[in-house]
Each structure stands twice: as C-alpha cells, then as structure tokens.
Amino acid sequence: MPMTMTEKILAHAAGLESVHPGQLIMADLDMVLGNDITSPVAIKEFPSFGKEHVFDKDKIALVPDHFTPNKDIKAAEQCACVRAFAKSENITNYFEAGRVGIEHALLPEKGLVTAGDTVIGADSHTCTYGALGAFSTGVGSTDMSAGMAIGKAWFRVPETILFRLSGKLGKHVSGKDLILTIIGMIGVDGARYQAMEFGGDGYHSLTMDDRFTIANMAIEAGAKNGIFPVDDLTLSYLKEHNAKEPKIFTSDPDADYARVIDIDLCSIVPTVSYPHLPENTHPAKEGKDIKIDQVVIGSCTNGRLSDLEKAAAVLKGHKVADSVRCIVIPATQQIWLDAMHEGLFDIFVEAGCVVSTPTCGPCLGGYMGILSEGEKCVSTTNRNFVGRMGHVKSEVYLASPETAAASAITGHITDPEEIV
C-alpha cells in the first residue's frame, strides 16, 4: 500500500507493516519532551501510572525555558520540581540555566532528534523537528507523563496535505513569510488533525533554519505535524550535530494525499499577520500606518543564528526609532556565543536593542517584554492571540526577523526592502 512519509514513520513506530489515515495506533517514542510549564503537571501525575522509574532516562528531555531564569517565586518552584525529578530519575537531558536554550532550537542543536524518529513534547511547537524528517507533535502533560512511564503514545494517523514547492525565495523573503502566507491561505484550522508535508523541487533551496521555522508553525494551521523529506542538507545538519543514525522514510509517488497545494516560492513577499489570528496576513509594505511600541526578535520560531544575522544586516548602521523598544533573544547559549563572536551584539547594542539571555519570556506574555494597554509589537514569534504578550488590549503582529528589524528602525510596520 502506498504511504506518505508521516504514515511510514508511524507504521514503523507502531511495529506495523502499514497504517492508513484515521487508524488509531500505539507508537513507540524516541523522545519525550517537557518544559517548566508543562512538566510539573506531568511529574505530579507520574506516580499514578504505577511505574517505579521512567521508561528510558536517555529518551526524555526536560527543558526549563519558558519562565527561566526564574521570573518569580512560583516559577522558581515549578523549576525546582522539574530539577528534583530530573535528579531523582537521573534524566540525561536536563538543562540548567546557563546551559538551557529554547527547547525547539536546543534539541536539534544537541543532536537529540534524528530523521525517522517519533517524538512527543508537552509543548505545541514540538512539530518543529519535522524539519529533520521526524514525526514530531505537541501533546499535553498527561501524554508526556504516560510517555515517560511506558515510552508510548496513542495517535490517530493523520491525513497529509502536500505543499509542492517550486522556485526560490526572493531576497529579504524567508521561511517565516512562506509559512505565514500558507496559514493565511488555508486558515488557522486549515490543516486541523492533518500532516503538512513540504515537498516539491523547491524545498531543497530552503535553509535548515527556514525549514525549522516552517515546521514550527504547522500547529498554527491546526496541523498535527509539519514534515520535510530528508535531503543532503538534512543529512549534513544531522552529522554536524552528532545526531543518531538517520532513518530515512520517503513518501511513495502514488501516496494518497488529502490535498495537494502548489506554491511558487518566487511569489512570496514579506508578510505580516495582524491581530488576533495568524491567518490574518497582509503584505508588510501595506503596514505603514501601523505605529509600533516594541519589537521582539527571537523564540522557537525565529531565534536561530541566521535569524539574528538577517536582523543584524538590516539594523547595521541604523538606530532603533526613539518610540520603540527592540528586544533580541538568541534561542540557545551556542547561538548566543556564535552571535557574539560574529559581532552581531555590537550591531544590536549600538542600534539601541536589548540583548537577552535565551528564554521564551515575552512570546507567551511571561516576562522580559510585556505590553501595556494599547501597545503594539512586531514580533518574530508565532501567536498573536488576544492578550498573548501582555495586556488584553495589546496587539502582536507576526513577521520575519528582517521585517521586524526594519520596523524597529522606522517605528511602523516596514518591508525590509525599503531599508536595505
């Protein structure tokens, strides 16, 4: 029976010859992830499963990244709960402040996910690792706890939408603009319960960082997972990061797709999602009238080295507008070091930006850049829901690092083409 790569990975993980969309399976897990928000719930539930210890101390990652460095006493207590569990269960992949980074940038960087893996994470953006050719999906704390107990999770095999990419992205256009455009096209529930596979000849031209950004936001279209076929670029990334041996699954040419959507990468322009849904997309060049108070450049979506490099290239020789606070957050300690060595921090600080330690912080309205009533922020993060970054009457506009940097300079939504 012909299958898509998502179906093949799930069949492999369930120990079955084949699976079909709609089928309910129990799958073996290669990695179970949690953060400082979701893990405490899972840890409290863990004894209820009646297992003495976790199923495999090497296949669990505990990444306190959301409200760290601890933002308040309650957050400190949640982190203490995760720390104590990591110690008592001798969890290999626990990351303390000073070593921790934003989970979905950190796990690939540390080589903890490889192609063909089946991964769950108690964080909705766990779909990021589909960029590596893995099946990877967000779940809740009870699923995480069950995963830690028995190394398995239940899944309904999703149908797949194929996005057949051709051409190449233009200058100052990134993977972020592509995924925002796609969400604008199909809606925030356009791929609900489904897999989004990004194929066609055009995908080879996308950098790994762009692929991470695109897979990361599959959830914003309601998808179960986003996934890229493995090519030479994937393999060299995995090798460079000492990942385990890849298991390469390829969609059959006659696989059954729920939909096929053709996209010419040359047609994508710098795009901004207006409040309060990621599907509310507009070309950046039409945003001149929207004056902003803050810019955030970072997150699991766009806090990687090339994101910072692109933002710095726009900001170089410019100043952040007097009316704007610009907050730059490298996603991991390694990215922080690399950015520093490349001199990006000189550019950011001289332009008038804040450079923060890695944290999810402002993306979900935690800390490190909360908005007051009526304030507007252009952000490279992933959600612009009501109250997402602070006050219930504040507004978040989602954009690429280049659009965010250009907007920081002018003080209003700006297409990067107008600055560089």
Partner: protein, 162 residues
C-alpha cells in the same frame, strides 16, 4: 453519563491563551487556574458559572498551546462538558486524557444560544436543548477513545493495559 446545565456561548477559534492566560501558568494548582478561566474573553465567566454548566462554541475550540491547564481550568470551574463545531487536536486529546467530556456537533454549535438549558447524554451523544425543544446527535467516539473515557482517562487506561 449525563449532564444538565446552562450554556455559556463563544465563537470560533477560542484559543488556550484566553481559556487560561500564560501569566497564570506559573502554577498548576487547579483552584488557582479555575479563578482565571476564560478571563480574557469573558471576565464574568468565573463569577457566573455553576456546577454542571456547559460551554458551546464554534470551530477549532482550544487552538494554540498544548497547555493541559486549559481543560483543567474548565473542568475545575465545574463545567460538565464542552460542545463545539470542531476542536483543535491537542485540546481534544488533552480533554479525553483528563476525562473532560467533549462533543463535536456542528448543528448544535450553530443553533444553541447563550443561557439555554441543556441535557446531554455522553454515552449516546444526545444533546437536548430544553429551552428551544430541539434535539441534536454528536458523532460517537471511536471504540479506542470510548475505552479511554471509560477508564477515566489515560492514566486509568495505561494502568489497566500496560
């Protein structure tokens, strides 16, 4: 299992950030979460909700983050079930896993009004709107999910089977 209660009515794409804002996620205590449930979309919800009441909403209910704190907060508020046109997938599985009854029924979601009194039978999927006199039928769950629900959620199911 049956539930009876008054309807709180919401629109499409109710996200987990409005169900329980992240500024309250520095705790996982049910009673703390309950106090802020639906705060950013309906500041009066907590004041007005009573044991057994029912949330009815449009499409893609519970979209956004994976926070199980969202169904936990709803359940802790005393809500007996959520009826929606469709559910976002993580909210869907979290609800099944923690034993918060949810029903997908586009017709009911389109027609039922705020304040209506409902009677819901989870085993048959029958939804009776006692105010309008209309009856609706939600899609029954697949057998595997029925077993999960009957076990009281994922913890009970895993203990029985693994």
């Amino acid at each position: 299992m049956k539930a009876e209660g008054k309807v709180f009515r919401y629109g499409d794409n109710v996200d987990t950030d409005v169900i329980i804002p992240a500024r309250y996620l520095n705790t996982s205590e049910k009673d703390e979460l309950r106090k802020h449930c639906m705060e950013d979309i309906d500041p009066d919800f907590v004041k007005n909700v009573q044991q057994g009441d029912i949330i009815v909403a449009g499409k893609n209910f519970g979209c956004g983050s994976s926070r199980e704190h969202a169904p936990i907060a709803i359940k802790a508020s005393g809500v007996s079930c959520v009826i929606a046109s469709t559910f976002a997938r993580i909210f869907f599985r979290n609800s099944i896993n923690i034993g918060l009854p949810i029903l997908e029924c586009p017709e009911a979601a389109a027609e039922i009004k705020a304040g209506d009194e409902l009677s819901v039978d989870f085993s048959t999927g029958e939804i009776v709107d006692k105010t309008s006199g209309k009856t609706y039928y939600a899609e029954p769950f697949p057998e595997f999910m029925q077993r999960l629900i009957e076990s009281g959620g994922l913890i009970g199911y895993i203990k029985e089977n693994y």
